[in-house]
Amino acid sequence: MTDPDLQKSLAALRTPPPSAQAQDRALHRATIALANPAPADPVPHRHPWSLLPLATLGSACAVLLCGWLLLRAPLAPNVPTTTAQSTTADRDLLVQTGQLFPGQLNAIVIHNDTPQLDLSAEATTQPAPDDQAILVELTRDHHTLRILSYSGRTIRVQLNGAELHLVPLLTAAGDILLSGDDFIWTRDTPAQIAGWTVSSQPLAANL
């Protein structure tokens, strides 16, 4: 079922009109409430100097926090290590492999340098537009798992000997959400998945 089909189905929901009696009752009660507004939250008057200890404490905490973050920051930023050139190569690999297995390719999973194809048994997946191509990278110790796929596909990967299902989703803003059965990863709320560090990027963004 495509998005327009779903919207057509949603449009089939009919909304009953409100009864005139209910509407009159609601207006009457709301008008009474209008005459009895909720009291505004009392805000205690503070002398500007009374905020000084709080401001000093806040500044001190901020300085300490910045120092701690700088000491803890890794030497290399936690971003995908791919260059624009490798991004193009990744996308080409995805497109060309997809043409070899039309409607069957869920993802290409590259463990270190060994690629594996995640294929459906039958040609069931809809062809995805190129601008929906994404790269997800999982790293742990000396292991790197690079996943080339499309937004909205369910990808199966082996992590620590267990099969995990991931669904990457490209948002309208160009960010990627990554979901599993019991987690959601976003760039803003990074979290490790089974001990693996995650990064991601749209493959079409740098073209």
Partner: protein, 198 residues
């Protein structure tokens, strides 16, 4: 006993010409019943429909719409106008629907109530949708968690952006995108299953 109508000075009320929400709001906040009634008449049907799509029950929708306007009337003085008045009403209605759902869950009657309710007789005929289609989509929507239904309601029915919906729901934009994605997957699955049964 009917409480006495509030007494308002004539200067608090707006002129008789057609006005916008922005024109009416200061008068309503000052206690002018005419201005408030104009706002009520402008938005009640929309909020009622919004509430119905959240709770999928005609009687509850009337209650939620009523509570929404009662709370709006009480809190007009605190409305900061960072959002539109309509979006502010959506926020209140969403919170009222959540409260009601929590109450219903405590009574463990939600599923039974949703399943037992028959399609309302007063629903207007649609030129494109049959009663059968209406019931299919109503059941499919009822099977969604409320937060998914809220996202579908605001983005698909009210045509708000993900960012606007996020502000109303008090969550991140990415959360709205995610809820929509999950909601659409579930709706597709449920509707496909219905089609297969047919």
């Amino acid at each position: 006993m009917t409480p006495a109508a509030p007494t308002i000075s004539p200067s608090a009320c707006p002129p008789a010409e057609p006005t916008t929400d922005t024109d009416l709001l200061p008068h309503a906040a000052a206690g002018c019943p005419e201005a408030f009634t104009a706002l009520f008449n402008r938005h009640y049907a929309n909020i009622h429909a919004f509430a119905y799509r959240l709770c999928l029950c005609a009687a509850e929708a009337e209650d939620i719409a009523q509570e929404t306007f009662i709370q709006a009337a009480r809190s007009l003085g605190t409305f900061r106008r960072e959002a539109s008045f309509k979006n502010w009403l959506y926020t209140i209605a969403t919170n009222r629907a959540r409260d009601r759902l929590r109450q219903r869950q405590r009574r463990s009657r939600l599923d039974a109530a949703l399943q037992a309710e028959s399609p309302p007789d007063t629903a207007p005929p649609s030129p494109t949708a049959s009663p059968h289609q209406h019931e299919d989509i109503r059941i499919a929507l009822a099977a969604l968690p409320l937060d998914h239904r809220e996202a579908i309601n605001l983005v698909y029915y009210e045509n708000l952006s993900h960012a606007e919906a996020a502000r109303i729901l008090g969550c991140a934009e990415s959360t709205v995108s995610w809820r929509l994605f999950r909601a659409k997957s579930k709706l597709r699955k449920t509707l496909r299953a219905h089609h297969h049964h047919d």
